[in-house]
């Protein structure tokens, strides 16, 4: 993948690293670096933490290159919440990028129910999510992309996912959509692409126990990946109509579960 120099100049990396505390019994350690997004620690437990990502200014503008790097150490669990959705504005020809790079250690977990990325008319966005799963790690990630604000066709977006573990690739996908040139079979007439990815790294090529997978979501498509794990997907007219929200409730921790 090549990055044009104009984009590289405006790279701003936000990083979150979660690791065990140095003293036994102390809470997990959260190391954060703020970029175009700032990291706010919401809570910390023995192995879990929750952080919020807050935009520090207007994002995404043409030429912006947001990088969010997330690293969760062995046996730790991180929950990320977005404080607001993101609008990719008309860049008047300038492209922008939103790269998420996730590294999960052995048995680590990341839950990230992202808020929608709205691709305004004239915007040209590449959103790339790269995930490397340690043995037994689990990722639950919601990504919602909306073509256009209300009454608008929306710009162009490339949504890339690249999830792999030590064995090899788990999910590799690129969806290209444009509000002004809809393609039947890709998004067709719909402007919302709502995706809940639930993947689990395995030491061996064994599929997950059925009971570990979320049940099918009525009205959404559940794709069962070859290596185990699911992609639950809904295409529709407006985010508030999406049944993926219900699937997500399934994954929220019950009170008292957080340690």
């Amino acid at each position: 993948m090549t990055t044009t120099s104009s984009l590289a100049d405006t790279r701003a990396t936000t990083a979150v690293r979660l690791s065990r505390g140095t003293v036994p019994g102390s809470p997990v350690r959260v190391d954060a670096t703020d970029g175009l997004l700032a990291v706010r620690t919401v809570s910390r437990g023995a192995v879990r933490a929750e952080v919020a990502l807050v935009a520090t200014g207007a994002v995404l503008l043409g030429g912006d290159h947001v990088v969010v790097r997330v690293d969760v150490a062995d046996g730790c669990a991180l929950r990320i919440t977005d404080v607001g959705g993101t609008v990719a504005y008309d860049g008047e020809g300038a492209a922008c990028r939103w790269d998420v790079e996730v590294r999960l250690g052995r048995g680590a977990r990341l839950d990230w129910a992202g808020m929608p990325l709205v691709v305004a008319g004239g915007a040209n966005v590449v959103r790339a999510t790269t995930v490397r799963l340690g043995a037994g790690a689990r990722l639950v990630l919601r990504e919602t992309v909306v073509l256009g604000r209300d009454g608008e066709h929306g710009g162009r977006v490339v949504v890339r996912s690249d999830v792999a573990d030590d064995v090899g690739p788990v999910l590799v996908e690129e969806v290209v959509a444009s509000g002004t040139a809809p393609v039947p079979g890709v998004l067709g007439p719909y402007r919302v692409l709502d995706t809940l990815t639930d993947v689990h790294a395995t030491d061996e090529l064994e599929a997950l126990e059925e009971s570990d997978l979320p049940g099918p979501v009525p009205g959404a498509t559940t794709l069962r990946l070859d290596r185990g794990g699911t992609v639950t997907r809904w295409l529709g007219a407006a985010t508030h109509l999406s049944p993926v929200e219900r699937a997500l409730a399934h994954h929220r921790p019950k009170p008292g579960e957080d340690g």
Partner: protein, 242 residues
């Protein structure tokens, strides 16, 4: 087009058909490879609500998305089997499966792979490339159609650009001929759409033909088509397997 390496002394003594002739054979619906039971996702699309008027745009969309995943898989398979590179066929099949998130579409491709493998093992029985695809089928219990196509390309010396075009054409023609069984239409109308779909893929041919490793294989998805495929796999009211 490069001359195919002789597989064995015996076959080298025979006059080999030109690779282009083999491509014609593979693209011919009269070849009993099992393709007649498939609609290249067209029946699922129509059942899912795709208007017939949108079929040509849908075909062009396929030719530039999911067909290129298949084509890239075939190209890398042929490359691996021709050069004996570090990446084995298992890695190619795994890359394909990671790029094919719909279980219904993986099942359909593996069913087609079985039919194609029967053709390949009969026609190129002595060739190591076909034996490698057959070996993969034994290890994994199945082999996707694109891997068998790549093995045949390696066996007969079909070049990567023509292999991409063959894959795209076969997919488009499968949809077009299925359409005639599903909708009353002048049979020459979808023939135009096949050519238009192949033309839409043409700007991508060089890029896909240049793929050499499993990571290079395109991953362009079509979420709506994948959703229709999953729904279709559960219905009894269908003419085609997928």
């Amino acid at each position: 087009m490069p001359t195919p390496p002789p597989a064995t002394t015996r076959s080298a003594e025979r006059t080999a058909p030109a690779p282009g002739t083999v491509a014609l054979l593979l693209a011919d619906a009269r070849l009993p490879g099992g393709g007649h039971a498939h609609s290249a996702s067209l029946e699922p699309a129509l059942l899912g609500g795709l208007p017939v008027d949108d079929v040509p745009a849908w075909m062009a969309g396929r030719a530039t998305t999911v067909s290129l995943v298949e084509a890239g898989t075939a190209v890398v398979t042929a490359h691996v089997l021709t050069t004996g590179g570090a990446h084995g066929l298992d890695a190619v099949a795994r890359a394909w499966a990671a790029r094919t998130p719909s279980g219904a579409l993986r099942d359909a491709a593996r069913l087609l792979g079985r039919g194609y493998l029967r053709v390949a093992r009969t026609l190129w029985a002595d060739h190591h490339a076909v034996a490698a695809a057959a070996g993969l089928a034994v290890r994994h219990g199945s082999v996707p159609r694109a891997v068998v196509l790549g093995a045949v390309a390696a066996a007969c010396g079909l070049g990567p650009a023509d292999l991409v075009r063959l894959t795209v054409y076969d997919d488009a023609q499968t949809a077009a001929s299925a359409l005639l069984k599903l909708e009353p239409l002048d049979p020459l109308v979808p023939a135009r759409w096949v050519l238009d779909a192949c033309a839409a893929a043409e700007p991508h041919v060089a890029r896909v033909a240049a793929c050499t490793t499993p990571d290079d294989i395109p991953s362009s998805g079509a979420p709506l088509t994948e959703g229709w495929a999953e729904a279709h796999a559960l219905t009894q009211q269908r003419l085609f397997r997928a």
